[in-house]
C-alpha cells in the first residue's frame, strides 16, 4: 500500500499533477478503472439526527456512497431532504454520529476536532454565498487557502494565487475587493480559492443559486474544466438540471434516503 492518498497528494507538487487518462474520460468512464486508487469518499450506513427542542430528528438514513478520484457527482433532491447535511458531514464540518465515513483516507467517525480541521485543509469548499473576506483583495482571499500549507514563501503564494485567478479569468481583478466585484466574479474567486491547493475533493453547495443562469453556467463551466484538469473529485449540490450533462453521476435524495445513483 505505502503512502495514504493524502500524502500522495501532498507529494505531487500542485501544478505538476497529471490526471490519468481515465479521469479525463468523463461521465461514461467505467468506474472499475479507478480500482487502482482508493475512493476519495466512502460512506457506509450513515445516519444523522439533529437535536431539536430536546428531541432527536433524524434527517439522514442509511446512506451508502462512494466518490472516486476525479469523479464529478451531482447531488439533487427536494428542499429539506438532507443534501446540505450530508455535504457538511463529508466536509468534516459536523460530527459523525453513526455509520462509517472515510474522506481522503481519514476515518471521520470519532476523530478529534483537530483531525477534522486537518482533513478540511485538503478539501476545497465552494459555498452558496461566496463567503469571501470583505477586507481582502481577490488575490489575498485566494492566498488564505495557500497559507494553510507550509512550504511556500510569500512570493510563491502570491504567484500561485495570481495564477489561480488567471485560470478563472480574473487576472485583471486581482487587486479588487469583493464589494467591487459582480456575483459571478466573486464566485469565480471562491473557485480559485477552493482549487488553488489542488485538492482531491471539492464540495460545493448550490454554488450558482445566487447567480443568474447564464453566469451560473459560466461559473460551473470553469469549475468543471479546472476539476477535470486537476483530476479532482467534485460533489456538488444543485437544483440546476441543465448542468447534469457535465456530471459523471447524479445522486438523487429524498427524505434523507438516497433513491437513485446513476
Amino acid at each position: 500500500m505505502g503512502q495514504s492518498p493524502v500524502t500522495n497528494f501532498m507529494a505531487a507538487r500542485p501544478g505538476s499533477f497529471d490526471p490519468p487518462a481515465s479521469i479525463r474520460a468523463g461521465r461514461n468512464g467505467d468506474r472499475r478503472r479507478f480500482d487502482a486508487a482508493d475512493p476519495a469518499v466512502t460512506v457506509r450506513n450513515l445516519d444523522f439526527s439533529y437535536e431539536e427542542a430536546g428531541a432527536m430528528k433524524q434527517v439522514l438514513f442509511d446512506i451508502d456512497l462512494d466518490i472516486w478520484p476525479g469523479e464529478i457527482v451531482l447531488l439533487t433532491g427536494p428542499s429539506g431532504c438532507g443534501k446540505t447535511t450530508l455535504l457538511s458531514l463529508i466536509g468534516g464540518l459536523r460530527t459523525v454520529q453513526s455509520g462509517e465515513l472515510t474522506v481522503l483516507g481519514h476515518s471521520l467517525h470519532g476523530s478529534p476536532a483537530g483531525e477534522l480541521v486537518e482533513v478540511r485543509r485538503h478539501i476545497g469548499f465552494i459555498f452558496q454565498m461566496h463567503n469571501l473576506m470583505e477586507f481582502l483583495t481577490a488575490r489575498q482571499n485566494v492566498q488564505m487557502t495557500l497559507q494553510l500549507h507550509p512550504g511556500l514563501t510569500r512570493a510563491e503564494m502570491e504567484e500561485r494565487a495570481n495564477q489561480a485567478l488567471d485560470e478563472v479569468g480574473l487576472g485583471h481583478r486581482r487587486a479588487a475587493y469583493p464589494a467591487n466585484m459582480s456575483g459571478g466574479q466573486k464566485q469565480r474567486v471562491s473557485i480559485a480559492r477552493a482549487l488553488v491547493n489542488h485538492p482531491r475533493l471539492v464540495l460545493a453547495d448550490e454554488p450558482t443559486s445566487a447567480l443568474d443562469s447564464k453566469t451560473g453556467h459560466e461559473v460551473i463551466d470553469i469549475l468543471v474544466r479546472l476539476a477535470r484538469e486537476q483530476g479532482c473529485a467534485i460533489l456538488m449540490v444543485t437544483h440546476d438540471t441543465r448542468i447534469s450533462d457535465m456530471a459523471d453521476r447524479i445522486i438523487a435524495m429524498e427524505d434523507g434516503h438516497i433513491i437513485s445513483d446513476e
Binding site: 480541521v117 459555498f127 454565498m129 481582502l136
Partner: protein, 391 residues
Amino acid sequence: MTFLFRDLPIAWLSLSHGRTKLIAAVIGVVFADLLMWMQLGFMTAAIQGATFIHNLLVGDLVVVNPQSEILMQAKPFPRVYLARALSHPDVATISLLRVGGVAWKNPPGLGTASGEKRNLTIYSIEPHSPAIAAPGVEEYATQLTAADTVLFDRLSRPEFAPVIAKYESGEPVEAEINGRQVRVVGSTAIGASFQVDGNLITSDLNFQRFTNRPPGSADAGIIRLRPEADPAQVKAELQKSLGKDLLVLTKSEYIARDRSYLSRRSPVNFIFGLGTAVGFLVGFAIVYQVLFTDVSNNLPQFATLKAIGYSDGYLQQVVLQEAIILSIFGFLPGTILASGLYTAARAATRLPMSLTWDRGLLVFGLTVVMCSLSGLLAIRKLRQADPADVF
C-alpha cells in the same frame, strides 16, 4: 515566527479596511491614554509638589519631632534640644525652619485676586543662616531683618502673577498678612502645589509677629555637615545623643518620609487612581465594542476560515493582534497630546508635570492590558462562528 512574514497580516488588513472603525477605536484608546497620563501625572505632581521645599533645604541631615508626620503640619520642638548636636565635631551649622499658614490679602487693583484673602504658606528662616536655599534667599536675607517684610514666591499660582509683575517693575508692593501691613522686599521660587497656592519666606522674628507662635521652638532643624563627614555615621551618633524626643533623618530619608505620608494619608492616590481606572474602563469599553462589532460583522467569514481549515487559536490570535495594534496606535498620539496638556497644566497650575519614562511604561502597559482584555472578551464571540453553518 516565520508565519509572521509569510502570512497575510489579517489583523491589520481587517482593521484598516474599515476606516471609521479604526478611527473610532483609536480615538477611544487615545482618550483613555490621555486620561491615564493626566491622572497619573497629577497623582505624582500632588506628592512632588508638596515636597518642593524639601529639595531646597540646605543641609545634609534633618531633625524633626518624631510625632511630626509631615512638614506642613509639623509638631514643633524646643530649640534647646538641638544644643547637644552643635557639639558634634562633624556638624558645621544648624539652621532652624518653621512653617505656617497665613491669610494673605492681595493689594487692591492687582488682577483677579485683588482684595481677596488667600491662604499662603510661610517659611521662616534665620537671616544669618537660612535653612532654605531657594533663589533670592541669600540675596534678600538681610532685608528680611526689617520688620514686616517678606519674599514672594514667583512660582505661586497664576492669579498672583500681578503681584510679581508689580514687584518686578520696581514699584513697592504692600499687602496684608493676618491684618498686618507687610512689604514685599524680594522674590523667590518654590512652587505651588495642590495644597498650596503660593509661598512666602520671612525671618524668624517676622514669623513670630505674623503667627503669634511662641519663640524658642522649631519645626525642623537643618544640619549642615563638614565636607569630610559621613552622613550615615553622624546621623546615627546624633540620634543617640539627642535621644527619643527627636528624630534624625538624612535629607533623602526626610523627603521619602513626607512623600510616603502623603501617598498613605492624603486622598490624592485614591482620587487620581480612580481617574486612571475610569480612563482604563472607558478605553476598554470602546475597544471591546469595536472588536466585538468587527467579529460579529465578520462571523460568516470567520466561520468560513474555520471551515477551510483555520484553527480557533489562529483566529483568536488575529483578534488579539487587532487589540495590540490598537494599543500602539492609540498610545503614540495619546502621548503626544498628553505632552501638550502637560505643558498647559504646568502653565495653568504650576504643578510639576513632566512625561517620564516610567510613567510612559506604566501607561503603555495599562493600554496593552486594556486592549488585550477587550480582545479576550471579544474572542468569546468567535465561538459562535460555527463552520457547520457555512453551507
